[in-house]
C-alpha cells in the first residue's frame, strides 16, 4: 500500500504541472491547446540539448528551456491564435489551429532531435525506503520542485497584479477590458506561462523517464482527462484532476490488469461527464 501511495503522489505532482499549464491557457483564451503535450516534449528535448550537447548545468538548461518554450507559446498566441480569433467566430478554428501547431512542433522536434528517446542523468542518485515503499531520490527531487513550482504559480495567479488580471480575464473578458486591463498583453503572458509550465514539467521528467518527439499526444490526452475531471479553466480543478488521475493510475496498475486501468478510467470519465459535465470544480455556466 505504501508503494501505491508513493507512486500516486509522485504521478500527481508531475501531472499537476501539466494540468496547470493547459487550464491557464483554456481559462484565459478559451482555447483547448492540443499542442500542450508537444510543448512538454519540447521542454524536455531542449533541456537534453542544452545539457548533453551544449554542456550547460542542468538548472541553467531547465531555466533556458522554460524561457524558450514560454516565448514560443507567446509567439503562437500573437501570430496564430490572436489572428484566428480575430478573424473567426467559430471555436473549432482555434482547435484546428492548436492541432496544427501540435503537428508542427512534433515534426520540428523529430527533425531537430531525431526519433530516439532522450534522457539526461538523474540530478540526485540513490533510493529512499519509506516503510515498504521505494522512493528514488531523483523522483523525490522532481516531486519537491514540482510542489514548489505549483505553490509559486498559485501565489502568482492569486496575489500578483498580472495574475489577478489573468483571473479577471478568465471570468469576464469584456469587464476586464472596461477596467483598463491590457487584455492582449495578459493573454500573451498567460499563453506563455502555460507553455512554460508544460516545458518545465518536460524538463524535470526528462531526468526520470526521458522524452521522445512522439510523446506529446499521450501527455495532451492525460492533460485533457485531468481538466475534465477537475473542471476546465479552474486552477483548483486542474490540481484536483491531477491528484485524482495520479492516484487512480497508481491504484489501477496495482489492483487491475494493466490493460484495464485506462479502459476503466475512460469508462468512468464518460459516466462522470454524463453526471457532471463541468467537472468537480467547474461551474455549469462555464
Amino acid at each position: 500500500m505504501e508503494q501505491i501511495l508513493v507512486n500516486g503522489a509522485i504521478l500527481a505532482a508531475n501531472y499537476a504541472l501539466i494540468a496547470l499549464g493547459i487550464t491557464l491557457i483554456f481559462s484565459i483564451m478559451n482555447v483547448l491547446n492540443f499542442a500542450h503535450g508537444q510543448m512538454f516534449m519540447l521542454g524536455g528535448l531542449l533541456v537534453y540539448w542544452l545539457v548533453v550537447q551544449i554542456g550547460l548545468p542542468y538548472a541553467a538548461a531547465l531555466i533556458g528551456a522554460t524561457i524558450i518554450v514560454g516565448v514560443i507559446g507567446m509567439a503562437f498566441e500573437v501570430f496564430f491564435f490572436r489572428q484566428v480569433m480575430r478573424n473567426s467566430t467559430r471555436e473549432e478554428n482555434t482547435m484546428l489551429l492548436a492541432v496544427g501547431t501540435a503537428l508542427l512542433l512534433e515534426n520540428a522536434a523529430l527533425s531537430l532531435f531525431g526519433e530516439k528517446q532522450r534522457g539526461v542523468p538523474p540530478i540526485v542518485s540513490g533510493v529512499y525506503k519509506l516503510g515498504d515503499a521505494f522512493l528514488p531520490a531523483n523522483r523525490a527531487f522532481v516531486f519537491g520542485v514540482s510542489v514548489v513550482l505549483i505553490v509559486a504559480v498559485l501565489l502568482f495567479v492569486n496575489y500578483s497584479r498580472t495574475g489577478r488580471a489573468m483571473r479577471a480575464l478568465a471570468q469576464d473578458r469584456t469587464a476586464t477590458l472596461l477596467m483598463g486591463v491590457n487584455t492582449a498583453r495578459v493573454s500573451t503572458l498567460g499563453f506563455g506561462l502555460g507553455a512554460a509550465l508544460a516545458a518545465v514539467a518536460g524538463g524535470l521528467l526528462i531526468t526520470v523517464s526521458g522524452v521522445n518527439a512522439g510523446v506529446g499526444t499521450a501527455i495532451s490526452t492525460k492533460a485533457f482527462i485531468m481538466i475534465m475531471i477537475g473542471g476546465a479553466g479552474v486552477v483548483s480543478g486542474a490540481l484536483l484532476g491531477a491528484v485524482a488521475l495520479g492516484f487512480i493510475e497508481a491504484f489501477g496498475y496495482a489492483y487491475l490488469p494493466g490493460s484495464l486501468t485506462y479502459l476503466m478510467i475512460f469508462v468512468a470519465l464518460i459516466i462522470f461527464l454524463l453526471i457532471r459535465p463541468q467537472g468537480i470544480m467547474g461551474k455549469p455556466w462555464g
Binding site: 508503494q3 526519433e115 523522483r139 526521458g210 492525460k222 490488469p257
Partner: protein, 401 residues
Amino acid sequence: MVIASRRTLLKGAGALALAGAIGAPARVRAEGKVLKIGQLGVMSGPEASWGLVNKFSCLATAEMWNAKGGVEIDGELYRVEIVSVDDRNDPKLTVSGAERLTGEEGIHYFVGPNMDTTATSVRPIAEKNKAIYIPYAFARTVYTPPAENAILGMIASYQVAPVMYKILKEERGVGKVAFLARNDSDGLLQRDEASKVAKNLGLEIISSDTYEPSITDFFPVVANAVSASPDLIIMSSVAPAHCPQLMRAAREMGYTGLFAAESAQDIKIIKEVAGEYGDGLVSIGGASTPEIRSAYMEDFIEKYNAVAGEWNDEAGTKAYALEMLLGTLQKTGAAGISDIEIFKKAIPDFSMKNPFLKEEAALTYVGMADFGQKRQIGVPMVITETKGGEFTTLAIGKVES
C-alpha cells in the same frame, strides 16, 4: 530603355537558370536506369524509431550502392532510389501508402511495415499490385501460405525466445520469470508465444502484466512484477523508448535480476535513460557488435551516421532487407524488377555471402520450419547482453532453414 533591357536580361537569365535547374535532373535521369524501392512504416509518434531506422538503413544501403555507380543487373547499372511513406502506425494510412507505392509509383518491392496490424493490412494491396514486401512484424499468417508476398525481415520473437531462455536457464540459473507486455497485438502475440516457450522449458511464470503503448511512467507498472521477485523480466514487444525506462523503474525498486527483450534495442538510449541501471539486458542484436562486424558493416555504419545524424543499434538488424532485395534481383535479372513471380522462384535457392559479418557466412532465405515456405531473411541470430554501457555478444545462432 536601359532599365527595360536590364529587366529583360535579368528575366532571361532567371529563365535560363530555372530551365537549367529543372532540366539537369532530367538529364541525369536519362543517363542511367533507376530502380525504385519503397519503404513504408511508422515514422512519427512514439514508435517513430522503428520505421525511421528502416528508412535510414535503406538510404544508407542505397548510397553505398550508388557510390559504386549503382547496382548491376543484367550488365546494366541501376541507381537505387528510395521512396518513403510514413503510415503513422495507422492501418488506413498503411493501405493508402501501399497503394501509392505499388500503384502510382509502380514499385514492386518495398521494406516495411513495422507492426502486425499494418503488415496484415497491406497484404491485399501487395497481392493486387504484385509487390513483394519485407515487414518487421511477427504474425505468422503474413508469411504462411496462401500468403506469399511478404518476407519477414528479422528474427521473430518466437524464434529467438527458445534459444535465449535456454541460455539464461542453463547458464544464469533463471527459474522464475515475469512478463511485461505492451498492450497491443504485437505485444500480446509475443507474450503468448514466449509464455509457451517458457513453460516448455520448465520456467515458472510468476506474473504477467501489460501496459498501454502511450504510457509515460513505468514506476507503478513494474511494482507488481518486482514484488514477485522474478529472476528475469521479459519485456514483450518493448519499444526502444520504453525499454530503459522500464529497466530503471524496476532497478529503482530494488530488482536485481535480468531483463530480456526479443526486439532490437539501442545502447545510446539505454545509457542515457537507464544510466547506471542499464546492465543485464539480454536482447536480439544485429551485426553491429564490434567483435563480429565486417569492414562493409563499418562502411554501412558510417553511411548511416551521415544519413541519420547518429548510429542506432536497431539498424544492425535492419541492414539486411535492401541488400537481400538487391542481391536477389541481381540473380533474377532485369525481368525480376517488374515480375515478382521470377523473384519468388529465385528465393528457395538464393544464397549470397553475408556482407555484414567478418566471418564467412551465407545469407539465404529461411522460414520452412515456421511458415512452411521460405519467407524470411536468414539474418543471424545475435543475442547480446548489456555490460558496462555496451552491447556484448552472448551467443550467435541461426533460424532453421
